[in-house]
Each structure stands twice: as structure tokens, then as C-alpha cells.
């Protein structure tokens, strides 16, 4: 019970705080926060917005899981952006070039994405493990390089196809597409379920397997993990590569469920969203799911703000302040809990002052 409270209280407080902040900003700019809120909530019922939220949340969920795998080891995979885009591009090229029986075709495309993401993340992984290059820098640089690589691959004289004024990869035949679930208002990507399964897999991996234990141990204390027989270099490489592999999936829901090709106008910026959502969800699969939905809701229903004349940018402020206030709230609660735990331990062992050599950091 207390655990649920400490898990839920901070995000609720933080969202309220962030919403309050935005309300103030809105009032200053002369708009009514209530109108804005009403428009955003009302938007969910409009057209395919509800389905879009679910679909986008699935994408955000995947990128955030990728980020969270890194975070478990205190690795900051800023390169998710480049990894998912390159992976989606190459997977689309492979998918468009191949003719295979239905399920196999889809699987090959997905595996290609996973592989490309993993390989692209392997570069910073190796640089970190063997050359000590901070993954923050190398992934920032590689994000740029991946743009160039994509541009090169998608050139009409490489693998690109001119589509009017757009360039895209060759379209993927229906055999390679991932069937979705049509609803009255839009089609839910089939890969939404892949994302959910990934979440379960992530949870299982982290909490139930030896690998997950080693990953968390390395993140918590690299020195203790090493003494406990965890190979630090190997963990760095595996964690980053795994993160890249998951990131490699992030572009595919849209490629396999809607666009059936990778184009110049394929979306960008999920990498940064992934970091933010993972932070919001505190690397916990359920928390990330919640964060992804919140983020997707804010993104998608922001479209309604234009209709009521409220600056859409208020949503960015909301997102930024939510991330910050969530962690501050958790920090405050954590400090409180730690002190409470110390008190509890001490009072259960009543008697003389408990010798406690190490002050608890």
C-alpha cells in the first residue's frame, strides 16, 4: 500500500504542478487554461486521435524502453535517434527489395531493423568499452553521421524511389506489412502488441533473469558488480547493443503499419522523446507505459490547441516541466522514505544506539 502510494504520489503531484505552471503561462498570454484543457481532452474523441495516441504511445514506449535499458547501467544512449532512423531506413529498403511469404517477410524486416539498430549502437559500445569514449559524445556525433548515411542510402541512384517531390524507399509488399486492427476510428498498429510484449520482456529480463540482475548491479555499483563477477566491459557492450536493438524497432510500427516505406518526411525526434519518457517512467515498464501515453496524449491533442487559438508550444513547456518536477518529486519522496526506513530499522532494534558505521548516502 505504502509502496503504491510512493510510486504514484510523485507523478500525480508533478503533473498537477506542471499543469499549474502551464495554466499560469496561458493566463499570462491571455488564453483560458480551461478552454485549452477542454480542447485537448475533447480532441481525444475526435477522428482517429484516440487510435493515434495509442499508436504513438507504442512508438514512444519502444524508444523509451531502449533508453531505459541504457539508464539501468547509467549509460546515456543519446543515439537512439540515429539508431531507429537508420534501422527503419535499412529495414524498409530490405523489405521493399525482397519478395517473401507473408509472415517470413515481416520477420525478416523486423530482424533487419533490430540488427541495424544493434550494429549502429555497437560503434559507441565498442568505443566506450575499449577506447573509453563517452557514449554521450559518440552517440551525438553518430546521430549526425546516420543522417548522412540515410541520405546516401535513399538517394534515387542508391535505393531511393522518387515519389513526386518526395523520395522514399521501394514500397513494401503486403506480404511484408504488419497487419493492424481496424477500428471505427483508425487502425491500431499490430506492432502495438509487439511493444507491449517488449515491455513484458523488459520486465522479465530485468527482474527475473541473471542478465537483468547483472545489468542492474552494474548500474547501481560498477565496482561491486565487478567484484561479484560481472564483466563490466561486456555489460557496457551488451547494454548499449541491446538498447540499440530495441531502438531499431521503434521506426517499424509506422513503416510496417502505415507508410510501408521510409521517406524523407518520415518522423524524427523520437530519440529525445524516448529519453524523456524513460525518465518520466523511472525505467519501470509500467511507469514508462504511463509516460508514453501521457506524452502521446499531449502530442496528439495539442493539435486541437490551434483550433482554440492557444499556442501549441504550451505542450512543450508542460512536457519539460513534468519531467523535471517528476524527478524532483521522487527525490523528495525518496529522501523522506530513506529517513523513515532508517528510523524504522532503528526503532525495531530498540536498545542502545545502533552502531551504524556508514552514514547512508
Amino acid at each position: 500500500m505504502a509502496r503504491v502510494r510512493t510510486a504514484l504520489l510523485p507523478p500525480v503531484l508533478a503533473i498537477l504542478f506542471a499543469a499549474g505552471l502551464c495554466a499560469v503561462a496561458l493566463v499570462i498570454s491571455g488564453a483560458s487554461p480551461l478552454t485549452a484543457l477542454g480542447a485537448m481532452v475533447g480532441q481525444v474523441g475526435q477522428g482517429t486521435t484516440a487510435v493515434d495516441i495509442v499508436n504513438s504511445a507504442a512508438v514512444y514506449y519502444i524508444v523509451a524502453l531502449a533508453a531505459a535499458i541504457g539508464f539501468q547501467m547509467k549509460l546515456f544512449n543519446i543515439g537512439i535517434e540515429g539508431q531507429y532512423r537508420l534501422a527503419a531506413c535499412v529495414a524498409a529498403i530490405v523489405g521493399g527489395a525482397l519478395v517473401l511469404p507473408p509472415v517470413v517477410h515481416t520477420l525478416v524486416i523486423i530482424l533487419t531493423g533490430v540488427l541495424v539498430g544493434a550494429v549502429w549502437a555497437g560503434i559507441p559500445a565498442l568505443l566506450k568499452a575499449y577506447r573509453g569514449v563517452s557514449e554521450v559524445i559518440s552517440t551525438i556525433m553518430l546521430n549526425a553521421v546516420s543522417l548522412g548515411l540515410i541520405a546516401f542510402l535513399i538517394r534515387p541512384d542508391s535505393f531511393g524511389v522518387l515519389q513526386g517531390n518526395n523520395i522514399s524507399t521501394a514500397p513494401i509488399e503486403p506480404s511484408g506489412q504488419f497487419p493492424g486492427i481496424p477500428t471505427g476510428a483508425g487502425t491500431i498498429f499490430g506492432m502495438v502488441f509487439v511493444a507491449a510484449a517488449l515491455g513484458l520482456g523488459y520486465w522479465f529480463l530485468l527482474n527475473r533473469t541473471r542478465f537483468g540482475f547483472e545489468l542492474r548491479a552494474s548500474g547501481e555499483s560498477p565496482t561491486a558488480a565487478t567484484a561479484g563477477g560481472v564483466n563490466a566491459k561486456r555489460m557496457v557492450i551488451i547494454a548499449l547493443v541491446l538498447s540499440g536493438a530495441v531502438a531499431g524497432l521503434a521506426g517499424l510500427p509506422e513503416v510496417l503499419g502505415r507508410d510501408f516505406a521510409y521517406t524523407l518526411t518520415s518522423p524524427q525526434g523520437y530519440g529525445f522523446t524516448g529519453l524523456a519518457v524513460a525518465l518520466l517512467g523511472r525505467n519501470n515498464p509500467a511507469g514508462i507505459a504511463f509516460g508514453a501515453l501521457l506524452w502521446a496524449f499531449l502530442d496528439k491533442s495539442a493539435l486541437a490547441l490551434d483550433n482554440v487559438g492557444v499556442p501549441r508550444d504550451i505542450v512543450l513547456i508542460m512536457q519539460g516541466s513534468v519531467v523535471l518536477s517528476v524527478v524532483v518529486a521522487y527525490e523528495i519522496v525518496r529522501r523522506y522514505e530513506l529517513a523513515a526506513e532508517q528510523r524504522r530499522v532503528a526503532s525495531q532494534l530498540r536498545g542502545p544506539a545502533i552502531p551504524q558505521k556508514e552514514p547512508v548516502a
Partner: protein
Amino acid sequence: MTEYAVELAGITKRFPGVVANSDIHLAVRRGEVHALCGENGAGKSTLMKILYGIQQPDEGTITVDGEQVRFRSPADAIRAGIGMVHQHFMLADNLTVAENILLGAEAQLGIGAKARTRITELARTVGLDVRPDLLVERLGVADRQRVEIVKVLYRGARTIILDEPTAVLVPQEVDDLFVTLRGMRAEGFTFLFISHKLDEVRAIADAITVIRRGTSVGTADPRTVTSRKLAEMMVGSELPSPQTGESTVTDREVLRVSGLALDSDDGGRPLLSDVDLVVRAGEVLGIAGVEGNGQTELVETIMGMRRAAGGTITLSGADITRAGTLARREAGVGYVPEDRTRHGLLASQPLWANRILGHQSRPPVSRGGLIDREAARRDTQRIIEEFDVRTPGVDVAAAALSGGNQQKLVVGRELSGEPVLLIASHPTRGVDVGAQAGIWDVLRRARADGLAVLLISADLDELIGLSDTIKVMLRGRLVADADPATVTPEELGAAMTGADGAAA
């Protein structure tokens, strides 16, 4: 002028769950060395931190030179002429000696040539002989200690707190330090001196205050009091001592290290060279050495945390030189690291998760790559009962346990899974007397059951008391053997510094 340099009256300090100091009284005369004795966690350091302004007392008063003061920060204490050499060095490795000394005291002489001259002067009085622009990371322990003292002197402190300054020093270095202290006492400096080594206390102190469980229980006269009497005042009961009893050494070799060498990271002097040793079942092999002479590296190389540059390590006949740490653990090596918070525990994880660390590939806590949480919980419960770990349960975070209980948990874990070899590095460091006795007891029992133990300890009494054989380590080599039945701590100390000519 009053007779007391410092008077603490009725000091009380509470931490969450702990009353570290309660109604402590302490009066220090000017120009004396005043020793503070008490077991681990008695509250000595806390009291000193209060005097130095790092922490604020909940109750009580501080009087310096007859004037009541309130220290809000160390800066206030420094201004009142109080300096402190901390139990753990407070040095920034990546700053130079001069920078470390000048930090916070730049206002006095600036940070230029004048300041340097003054540093060199002070360095001479404490026997520090290094260039002021050398990085501190290049200094040995004794020199670091001297830098700490110069730091205090530079600030013009007249009352100097020395919190366990001798813990990391060998007897010869302790003697050097005492020479310096006596000289300074003659010049009118006042010292507050903390040590667990009661002989030292009796040798240097003019007065002793004993603290037990957070309160001052009385004072003693070092000229008349015996170590045993002091210990009894501290503990409130009789002092246990490390004794092995009859030999259980067998002739079955468990660990053999031959020709082991380890290069340093920066291409300097090798960290280990030509190390040969054998540990047999039922034997405790003690390694003596001044900190920084390669014991840590030796242990970490045997554990596979560092890669040997040469030589072989065999465990029960199998060559494990190339094996990883986990493989070595699986082959039956237990490891009690010297720094449990850094190498032994996952502070924010529950106890049962800590039980898994190092055993993540073995039953009962793990099967086929999967973690068995229930089994881990059960086995943690077993350790708690068997090793008397005082905790409300297996689900609390490791950080919530006291140091001694943390250490017992680590020892219990490392003795799980039927190890054949236990590497114990300073197993009782920072552990209070009661827990200390418990750990000694555990080691003795395991040895009787045929466990081979490689013991590293800075506590020479512990080393002599527990070991069947002692080897002395100096500059990365094993330079001498000693028989624990006959050797004295002084002789051992001499060998450890190379003063006996062993390190030719």
C-alpha cells in the same frame, strides 16, 4: 586566560534512528595531547565534526579559550584556531599538494610564491618532502597524512583534531608521527587524538576521555591506566582477542600463486612482481603490508578483477589464471572485500538481492539463467539467523543496515555455496568490537572445516592472532615470512617498511 583550550559540555546529536552523541562532556587543557577512546560507532567522529563545525549539535555548548562559540561551518572553527585531520583523507587527488593545502585558506597569503614558501617551511616541520606542485594522487599514505597536517597548520590552527591518524600507518611511521606531535606540543599546540590502538594512546596522550555508546563515561590517566582497563571502560565488558587455537592446516593445496606479476596502468613501477604463495586447506595465510604496497592489487588479481601480466594462479589444481571473476567464484572462491560499500554491496537494493551478487549463476538463488527470488529470500533469512545480522527483514535496503551488520551479511554470503578458498581483506575494518568477535569466530570455524583463507589486515594483532603463516608484502613483492607464534607487531612493522633490510 583559562586553562582549557576546548570545552564541550552536554553535547547531544541525533541522527535518524541513532543518537550519536548524548550529553558528552570533554575538557581539553591547552598544550596537551588529549586522547578520545571508544569503540566503533561510539560517536567520536561525530563529536569531532561538531567541534569542527561540520555538524551542529542538537544540544550542548562549545567553549574555546573560555569563550562560548557557535560554529556554523568549518570556516568558523578554523577562524577559532581549530583544525581537523579526518579519519578518511580529505584530499582531492587531481589537485596538487599546494592546492590541497591552500584550498579555503587562500586569503592568508594568496596562492602565489609567498604561500609556497610558507608551505615548504611547514612541510619541513612535519617531515614532508615533496614538490608542492605534485599531484596528490602520486603520494603514499604517510605523505598524504602529512599533507593533511600541513593543511591544518597552514590555517594557523592551535588545536588540532587527529581522527585515527595512525590507522593506516605502520609502527615506524607512527613513531615518526609521535615525534612530530611531541615537538609541536612543546611549541604549545593542543591535540585531540583518536585511536583504537590503546598502546599508542597510552604512549602519546596526556589525558584520556572514554566514550561509550554516545556518552562520555569518564577520563583516565594514561600513566596509570592499563590497556585492558581502558578497553573495559570502552566496551563495558571484557575485550575479546583474536586467537586461532590449535593448527588445522592440512597438506591439501587449495591456492597456489606463482610468479604473479601485474603492471601499473601508467607504465610506472610494476604493482606486483614475482609473487609466490600457497594456501592449504584449513590454513589461514596472513599478508602484512603497509597500505599501497600491492595487497589490494594481489587480492584483485587473484579474484580476476585485474589481469595478471605474468605468472599463474591455480585453484585446487586447476589453472584459473585466465578465468574471469565469475568463473573463479564458481570454482569456490569467496571474497570479503576491503571496502564493502564499494565492492561488496548494492546499497539501495534489498538484502536478498545482495545475497545474489556473486552467486547470480549458482543455485540456490539462480537456475538456468533465471533468478529465483524466493530461494534468495530464504537463503538470506538463513544468513541472517546464522550470522546474527540484525535487520527487520530481508526486504530492507542494504544501506539501512549498520556497518557491522552489513559486514556480517557479506561474510555470510561469501561463506555460502561451500567455498574452498576465502579471501578476506580487512574483514573487521570499521566494525565494532562485538561484531569483530563474531567475524573472528566465523573465520575460525570455517578454517576448522577445512577452508583455506587468505587474510589481509592492517590490524597486526588480528593478523598475528588469526594466521597460521604470515607473509610480508613490500612494493609489490613478498619480502619476508613470519611465524605468528613468535613475531611481535613491532617486528612485523619493521619488515613491512623494509626497515629490517628485508627489502633489498
